[in-house]
């Protein structure tokens, strides 16, 4: 191929620039706001921050202390942010773990053991995505109540995996189905049990797909607003998402933006570290058709 002319390079470059700006601008904007002092929030340039400060972040961790009078209480509400942080960690990690274990087991069953009608099992599990979540939380609340999980993080550990499972099972069963039989058979011939063949050979091989499933689950879990705010009622049991939803727009703007960033930045960093693995895993599960 001949070297590309200068205008093609320029076009490519400007498209790339456009894509970067489009993708990153909202993230940048929210980060800038959270670093502002109240003065700069009102009088400054919206796109840059002259005197970055971390006071909005610090304020999130301050407990209710020394508020004077009614106005003080109304203006300076405080939140158990540390509890929210811990709860969020527990819910995120727990949901990813539950989803991975359940979907690896189901994926192996459908892709490898292939019980009668396995293709329809796969499709049926995937088809649960057609159920609109909208008012499902009303009966779901009854289920949660019947299991005595209301106002408990365990309720989210039940609901979140059910939202991520269908796609993960789809991916993993597709991947297991396409693994050459010989890989496992060789181990079985040498006298290994099915379980040890799975844990010693298949599971280590599947790391990219496991990463992809894990990141997908994290994306689902982190994108929920509704379930968390409906099921977690008392402030100390809330996750960051549910808690930020209770902020008052007019009074806590900067604090809320700081809270948004405090959750978003770690989640983004984790996802960014695994981003290439995510693509590799998706690719591995999609070889030979989706």
């Amino acid at each position: 191929m001949s070297p590309r002319p200068w205008w093609a390079k320029l076009g490519h470059g400007s498209l790339l620039l456009l894509a970067i700006v489009y993708c990153l601008f909202p993230i940048y904007f929210m980060l800038v706001q959270s670093l502002k002092t109240p003065e700069e929030d009102v009088f400054g340039n919206p796109f840059i921050v002259m005197n970055p400060t971390l006071e909005n972040f610090e304020e999130l961790f301050e407990r209710q202390s020394e508020v004077r009078g009614f106005v003080g209480v109304a203006l300076r509400r405080s939140y158990p942010f540390l509890d929210w942080l811990v709860n969020t960690l527990v819910v995120f990690a727990g949901s990813v773990l539950v989803t991975l274990v359940a979907s690896v087991a189901a994926g192996y069953a459908l892709g490898r053991l292939r019980p009668p009608g396995f293709r329809w099992w796969r499709r049926a599990i995937f088809a649960t995505y057609v159920v609109p979540q909208t008012i499902l939380f009303i009966p779901l609340f009854q289920v949660v109540h019947a299991l005595a999980l209301d106002d408990s993080l365990l309720a989210l550990l039940l609901v979140y995996p059910s939202m991520a499972l269908p796609f993960c099972v789809w991916m993993l069963s597709g991947y297991f189905q396409h693994l050459p039989r010989e890989i496992e058979d060789a181990a079985l011939v040498e006298g290994a049990s099915r379980a040890s063949a799975f844990f010693r050979i298949i599971l280590p091989m599947s790391r990219p797909v496991l990463v992809a499933a894990g990141i997908f689950t994290l994306g689902i879990v982190a994108s929920d607003f509704m379930i968390a705010s409906v099921f977690l009622l008392s402030p100390h049991n809330q996750t960051i998402t549910a808690g930020l939803g209770t902020f008052d727009v007019a009074l806590d703007e900067l604090g809320a933006v700081a809270g948004v960033n405090l959750l978003a930045i770690p989640v983004m960093m984790i996802s960014a570290v695994f981003a290439r693995g995510f693509v590799r895993g998706l690719t591995a599960s999609m070889l030979e058709g989706a």
């Binding site: 498209l15 894509a19 970067i20 993708c23 990153l24 909202p26 929030d41 359940a102 087991a105 069953a109 459908l110 053991l113 292939r114 019980p115 396995f118 099992w121 499709r123 599990i125 088809a127 649960t128 995505y129 057609v130 159920v131 609109p132 979540q133 909208t134 499902l136 009966p139 289920v143 995996p161 059910s162 499972l165 796609f167 990141i215 994306g219 982190a222 994108s223 607003f225 968390a228 998402t241 930020l244 703007e253 809320a256 933006v257 948004v260 959750l263 978003a264 989640v267 983004m268 996802s271 960014a272 981003a275 995510f278 693509v279 998706l282 690719t283 999609m286 030979e288 058709g289 989706a290």
Partner: protein, 291 residues
């Protein structure tokens, strides 16, 4: 190793996933179907079966058709935009160039940015509290849009923008993974066949990516239809352009009419199921058993 033993093990391994799905979905769906035939309401003591009344009243009302119309429009507009942008991202990133990994990360981040909180950030960016320095500009934009298309248009536009921003990122990454799964020889052959990139795109790239595009369409549609929380957050509950999800929510929570609300949200199921069954043929074609 008997086949029967394999099958038993398979069911055993399926159990945790099925149990989770059944607990979280089976009862709620059953409840929703049952409720849609009743006039169940938290505001009343007695509940009566009303047959298909909820459905017939729904289909006769103008509200439903307006919501359905807006929902379909919303789903189509966002899906087309997400596919177009996502495909552009994927094609931009296919060939190696210097700094590709950074562009890739940039494309990946909108999806990785937790939507549960980014929607809060978006809401406050697009509808800022009046004290912030960018509030006048945003307010002006809001009045222009609202004045042209009617009150509430700006909020609806915000929801669309947010949905596209996040969805195009996921679809871009999904399609990039899809392109990687297609043997590169197929693209190289195409290079010899036709000189026009436009023709190559429609005759080769799109057909080769069809399964992945279909998967992307479905995931985009379900998220668009079910996207209640985003609409809720971004419009702070002041729904002027109702989509089916928000209308059902209002019927259930504000009006306490569980029956009609259930019927309303169930109207989406046959539509989505039909779309899924068509799409399955594309992204899950029946293929020969590998021995």
């Amino acid at each position: 190793m008997g086949r029967a033993r394999d099958t038993r093990l398979a069911y055993l391994l399926l159990a945790p996933a099925l149990l989770l799905l059944l607990t979280a979905l089976a009862y709620p769906i059953g409840w929703e179907v049952w409720t849609s035939f009743t006039d169940l309401s938290p505001l009343k003591d007695a509940t009566a079966h009303v047959g298909l009344t909820n459905y017939s009243r729904l289909l006769a009302g103008a509200d439903f058709w307006q919501a359905a119309f807006v929902t379909v429009g919303y789903a189509v507009v966002t899906s087309v935009a997400k596919l177009a942008l996502g495909l552009s991202f994927a094609l931009l990133l296919v060939r190696p160039f210097r700094g590709r990994v950074f562009v890739f990360l940039a494309v990946f981040l909108p999806w990785a940015y937790p939507a549960g909180v980014s929607v809060i950030g978006w809401y406050w960016t697009l509808n800022p509290p009046t004290t912030t320095s960018y509030a006048p500009f945003m307010g002006h934009l809001k009045y222009v849009v609202d004045g042209t298309f009617g009150t509430g248009a700006w909020a609806f536009v915000s929801v669309i923008l947010f949905n596209i921003w996040r969805g195009s990122s996921f679809i871009g990454v999904l399609l990039l993974a899809g392109i990687n799964a297609v043997p590169p020889e197929l693209f190289e052959c195409a290079l010899l066949e036709s000189k026009s990139p436009w023709r190559r795109f429609w005759m080769v790239t799109v057909p080769l990516l069809k399964p992945f595009l279909a998967l992307a369409v479905f995931l985009s549609l379900t998220s668009a239809f079910a996207d209640l929380a985003n609409v809720w957050m971004l419009t702070a509950g002041r729904i002027v352009f109702p989509i089916i999800g928000t209308q059902a929510y209002f019927l259930a929570i504000k009006a306490g009419q569980y029956g009609p609300a259930s019927a309303l949200s169930l109207t989406l199921v046959p539509v989505l199921l039909g779309i899924l069954l068509v799409l399955f043929r594309v992204f899950d074609p029946p293929r020969q058993e590998t021995a």
